[in-house]
């Protein structure tokens, strides 16, 4: 797969992710997810929590790159990535347009990056 040049600058790794409330087939939304090895946990856009009527779970403390602290609710969702489904993934909602796939999700895949060719592979072993 090629790096995304429209969403990210410099170009980066983006995959389509379908997000569903845990154990419900519908409603669902498909959006672009950035692969982010700097994120401990996966982050979904806040608007999705309303669209999919996601019930909040316990709040967690989050720190950004500048160590700014915020408290955010967690949610449980099923994520479908490249045909693979991860069940009951614990995610955090934040005011952003795209999804950030954190290391909690990336750990389920073998990901190979070729920065020079701006291509990557992502497979579930």
């Amino acid at each position: 797969m090629k790096y995304n040049t429209r969403l990210l600058h410099p170009p980066g790794t983006v995959v389509n992710v379908t997000i569903r409330p845990t154990r419900r087939a519908n409603p669902h939304r498909t959006l672009q997810g950035e692969l982010d090895t700097g994120a401990d946990i996966t982050i979904i856009p806040e608007s999705i929590t309303i669209d999919l009527e996601l019930a909040p779970n316990e709040p967690v403390l989050m720190y950004g790159y500048d160590e700014e602290e915020s408290e955010r609710a967690t949610y449980r969702v099923d994520l479908e990535i490249l045909g693979y489904t991860l069940r009951a993934v614990r995610v955090v909602a934040a005011p952003r347009a795209t999804l950030l796939l954190g290391r909690d999700v990336l750990a389920h895949f073998i990901i190979t990056l070729d920065g020079k060719a701006q291509t990557f592979e992502m497979v579930d072993p």
């Binding site: 019930a55 967690v60 790159y65």
Partner: protein, 149 residues
Amino acid sequence: MAKILKESRAVYSVSLDKAEALTKPVVLKRAGRQVAALVPIAEYAQFVSWRKQHRPSRKRATKATWLAKQERIMNREFAAFEQMKPALLQSHKDKWVAIHNGELVDSDADDKLLLERVDSKFGDITMLVTRVTETERVYHVNSPKLVRQ
């Protein structure tokens, strides 16, 4: 003493150049004040479409109300969990627990197994499922993002 106000019956006569009314808005005035505008039908159709797009949908407002209610429930369950935490640290340390109506209803070392169980037992309801740990789990998102100018 109440006053009775009467408005004179006025007949308004508007003379329009047909071509003008079809191409640009015509502002109607009354006593020198602008009171209405007559717009070409295409422009009106555009406005109706814009208004439909920008009006907050009732469905979304209902969903937001539902979400606020779930947040209240979760805050209540979390407050109950905080109260129970010293005892849970003795009995369920590092386990996942499910709190419903302020009570511990189930626990497991595996969060997904616990979720499946409480889901089949209670259905699709808002319930706190959290891990009993001494220190609060903190998450870092270390990726700054450049905004393209």
